[in-house]
C-alpha cells in the first residue's frame, strides 16, 4: 500500500520511537548507561541496539541447524515426505506471545493405520521444540490445536509419525511483528 497522505515526521524522532517500543527493558537500561538520557548520541544508541541484538536470548538460541538436529532425533534415518499434514497458523502475527496453531493430519485413524505422534519444531525460539503429542486410534481424528510463543519471524515445521513408521511433514513461514520474551516487564 502507498502511504501518500501521511505527514512526514521529524527525521530524528520517528525511527527512534519505533525502536524504543520494540526494545526490551534491558536495552533501554543499556542505552541509558551509555549516556542516552543526557543527549541523543547516535553512536551510543547504535551501541545499545547492537548489545540488544547480541543478548536477547543469551542462554542459547535454536537455529535451523538445531531444528534439523531435533528433527533427526525424532525421525532417525527415515525419510520425511511432504503432504498429508496441514499446518494452520496465521502468516502475519502481531503478537508472538500467543499464536494459535492447528495441526491436522489425514489418516483413517484405525488400528492398522493411524497417526502415532505429531511433533512441532521451530528454528528461532530459544529451543527448537514446540510440542510433542501422542495419539492413538482412540482419537478418531488427528487434529490438534493449541497456542504457542514465537520469538521471531521464522519457519515452523510439523512432523507426523504414522503407525507404519512413515513420517510426513508440513512447514509454514510466519512473520512476527512483536516477538515473545521481549516485552517490558516493568
Amino acid at each position: 500500500m502507498k502511504r501518500t497522505g501521511v505527514i512526514p515526521r521529524p527525521k530524528a524522532e520517528g525511527p527512534l520511537r519505533l525502536q524504543e517500543r520494540s526494545l526490551p527493558s534491558t536495552a533501554l537500561r543499556a542505552g541509558a548507561t551509555l549516556g542516552m538520557t543526557a543527549r541523543l548520541d547516535r553512536r551510543a544508541f547504535l551501541a545499545g541496539t547492537a548489545l540488544v541484538s547480541v543478548f536477547p536470548f543469551a542462554p542459547g538460541r535454536a537455529t535451523p541447524e538445531a531444528m534439523a538436529a531435533a528433527i533427526k532425533e525424532v525421525v532417525g534415518d527415515n525419510a520425511i515426505r511432504e503432504g498429508r499434514v496441514t499446518l494452520d497458523l496465521p502468516p502475519l502475527i502481531e503478537n508472538g506471545n500467543t499464536v494459535p496453531i492447528t495441526v491436522s493430519v489425514e489418516s483413517p485413524m484405525n488400528e492398522a493405520d493411524h497417526i502415532k505422534a505429531i511433533h512441532v519444531f521451530n528454528e528461532k525460539n530459544p529451543q527448537p521444540h514446540v510440542f510433542d503429542a501422542r495419539l492413538s486410534p482412540r482419537n478418531g481424528k488427528a487434529v490438534i490445536a493449541t497456542r504457542i510463543k514465537l520469538g521471531d519471524s521464522q519457519k515452523i515445521v510439523a512432523i507426523a509419525e504414522t503407525s507404519k513408521g512413515e513420517f510426513f511433514s508440513a512447514s509454514a513461514d510466519v512473520i512476527v511483528t512483536l516477538a515473545a520474551c521481549l516485552e517490558d516487564l516493568t
Binding site: 542462554p59 510433542d132 482412540r138 497456542r147
Partner: protein, 106 residues
Amino acid sequence: MTQVLINAPKTARKGEVIELKALILHPMETGFRPGTNGRIIPRNIIERFTASWNGNEIFRMEFSPAIAANPFVSFFAVAAEGGKITFRWTGDEGFAVEESVAIDVA
C-alpha cells in the same frame, strides 16, 4: 488456586468423534527472560498434559517453553463408552492438577 476450563460435550452417540478443549491458568515462564532486577526468571512451565477416558490414557502432549501462557489444547476422541474423562497437567515446581468431566454415551 488453579483454574481450569474444560469444554466437552455432555452427551455423545456411541462411536462419535468429539472435540475436547482444555485451558488451564498458568504463567508458562520460559526461563529465558530477565526480570525487573535483570536476573533470569527461573523456568516454571507445565511439562505434560494427559487425558484419560475411564482411566485409559487417550492423549498425551509434552509441552516446551514455547507453549503460550495459559496453555490451551484442543484434540479429538472417539466416544466409545460413557464415563469420566480426566485431564491432568504436571510440571515444574511440583505442579499437578487434575480435572474430570462426565460424559453420557448412548
